[in-house]
């Protein structure tokens, strides 16, 4: 009995000693993007009891994978509502997996939106367009939340830029997100180029686009790709750039 009490006292003293150490470690984990999931009632409501217990016991990756497989099956059955619910759970459980955010956004903005536009059960086009826009917004929301959780990774900025370009036809925002991706350490080499291409479509920003494309062109042969030369030539004409400052015509034949 006495030994038990002494052991308990040791545990309490050790607890007091370990408290600041564990707290510092938790802070360090969060700073370095570990422990991204907060276990609270919101998560419990989203996951259900079993999923929450599994996630709580350190198996959230497996739970997320199980839900991802269910989402894949829901996609095969074109159950878009169910997919949305599942992807919200998956991304809540694994906020650091870019693949889940990207796939969720792709399903919503590309697949579900097309399905909504081609929905034969909805005769009114206005409502089909409305549904399509809602799916675009859902895709955008996934990517924006993904970026919030992974601000240092360029992939989701690129995906959001693609969404603005292809779905909203908003070249200015697309240019902005490609440019943001380009500033990050693991950015793809084409991000800067794509940002400049998108800017070249924006009314009123031709001069800026021209300067950026020209700067890329001046970097050397590697950047002198057919699209870049084509966009540059168009802007030279549009901005009436003096002949001696223009890039050589022969290169356009590349």
């Amino acid at each position: 009995m006495t030994r038990g009490l002494i052991a308990l006292a040791v545990l309490i003293v050790m607890g007091l000693l370990k408290l600041p150490v564990e707290r510092d470690l938790a802070t360090l984990h969060r700073q370095e993007h570990f422990r991204g999931v907060e276990f609270n009632l919101d998560l419990r409501e989203q996951l259900g009891q079993l999923g929450f217990i599994a996630a709580l016991s350190g198996f959230r990756a497996i739970v997320a994978d199980g839900l991802f497989i269910q989402a894949h099956a829901a996609w095969e059955d074109t159950q878009w509502g169910r997919m949305l619910l599942l992807f919200r759970q998956i991304t809540t459980l694994q906020p650091r997996v870019l693949l889940f955010w990207d796939t969720a956004a792709w399903h919503m903005a590309w697949n579900a939106s097309v399905a909504a536009m081609n929905d034969t059960k909805q005769p009114r086009q206005a409502l089909r367009v409305k549904a399509q826009r809602e799916y675009f917004a859902l895709g955008k929301d996934f990517l924006e939340r993904g970026i919030k959780n992974n601000p240092e990774r360029p992939e989701l900025y690129e995906a959001l830029a693609r969404l603005y370009k292809e779905k909203y036809k908003d070249h200015e925002r697309a240019a902005e997100y490609y440019a943001k991706a380009a500033t990050l350490p693991e950015a793809a080499p084409w991000d800067r180029r794509f940002s400049a291409y998108e800017l070249s479509y924006c009314e009123g920003r031709e001069r800026e686009a021209y300067e950026r494309l020209r700067s890329l062109y001046d970097e050397g042969e590697k950047e002198r790709l057919p699209t870049l030369i084509k966009r540059l030539k168009l802007l030279e004409d549009k901005l009436a750039i003096p002949q001696e400052q223009r890039i050589p015509d022969t290169l356009t034949k590349r």
Binding site: M14, L25, H29, H33, R35, G58, A61, F68, R96
Partner: protein, 310 residues
């Protein structure tokens, strides 16, 4: 001194003296360790868990046949989840039955009747379990790496075939992307942390079993501790940050925060698979915390075991 006395001294053989008893003997601890390891490898539950773990790792290939990135993500999640689950379960199940079984079989009396201190007995026992955990982890990691390598090679071949007509730099980029999605060197510290979590659970189970009355009691208590340990961080933050709440709530939070280990600190592998880079500082601090807990719980187990009436 007479001649006869001299001859008596000369004929005395020093080796016939009994060896001086050492307070701590590594050879005695090693004997108990090897004996414990042999006992544990004879347990059916060990093979059932090991086969289950290996099957889960093997079947992870068939769990997803999406794009290569998704497939590798799921393969790694399931395999490392299986390793974590198996090592935690083995740590609890194997350790919880160790002391009660020795007492039931009366093995403990035979050992402690000899000049073996209780400290050595406990250290030898825990070392045996840790050795078993290390061997099991190595077997499962080898299976995981083999599965990952096979899938990587298969995907590389398919990618090379599909992109045969593409320019060489594009092909090289695609192959590099496949390789980057498969094995990541950051997985190694993640696996070591999983092992350290199992070591912590072993030491804690041993401590609980020193005052527990039966194996089932120890397992039930450990299951509760396992879940509470994963909630410890949340309880700690609420206890330290929130000043409101009733007295009972605050006392409960304080008990959880002070008495239980923070097991969430050892769940780093999910984020490592997701691509988060584990820094040396994070790895070292987490590993030191794991070792600290293991040592403290072992010492407490020794302390309580010294007072146990056998």
């Amino acid at each position: 001194m007479t001649d006869s006395e001299t001859s008596t001294v000369q004929s005395f053989d020093a080796s016939t003296f009994p060896k001086r008893h050492r307070a701590i003997s590594l050879s005695r601890i090693l004997a108990i360790t090897s004996n414990t390891l042999t006992e544990l490898t004879r347990l059916k539950v060990f093979y059932v868990l090991l086969v289950f773990g290996l099957l889960l790792i093997g079947s992870s290939i068939f769990m997803a046949q999406f794009s290569f990135q998704q497939e590798f993500q799921i393969l790694k999640d399931v395999s490392l989840g299986a390793i974590s689950m198996f090592t935690s379960l083995l740590a609890i199940v194997a350790t919880s039955r160790m002391l009660p079984r020795d007492i039931e079989d009366r093995t403990v009396y035979t050992i402690l009747a000899k000049p073996v201190p209780r400290f050595e007995y406990i250290v030898g026992k825990i070392a045996g379990v840790l050795l078993l955990l290390a061997i099991s982890t190595l077997i499962m990691v080898a299976a995981f790496l083999a599965v990952l390598y096979m899938r990587e090679q298969a995907v590389l071949q398919v990618t090379a075939k599909q992109m045969a007509s593409a320019p060489p730099d594009q092909l090289a980029d695609a192959l590099r992307a496949v390789r980057a999605s498969a094995f990541n060197v950051n997985l190694v510290p993640g696996i070591i942390i999983i092992f350290l979590k199992a070591c912590l659970l072993t030491a804690l189970t041993l401590f609980v079993s020193t005052f527990a009355t039966s194996t089932i009691f120890t397992i039930v208590v450990m299951v509760f501790i396992y879940f509470i340990g994963h909630l410890e961080a949340t309880a700690r933050e609420y206890w330290l940050a929130v000043h409101g709440g009733g007295l009972v709530t605050r006392v409960c939070l304080a008990i959880v925060a002070l008495l239980f280990p923070d097991l969430q600190a050892f769940n780093l592998v999910d984020d490592i698979i997701a691509g988060t880079v584990i820094s040396m500082a994070v790895f070292t601090k987490t590993a030191v915390l794991g070792i600290f807990y293991t040592v403290i719980y072992t010492l407490l187990a020794v302390f309580v075991f010294y007072g146990k009436e056998l």
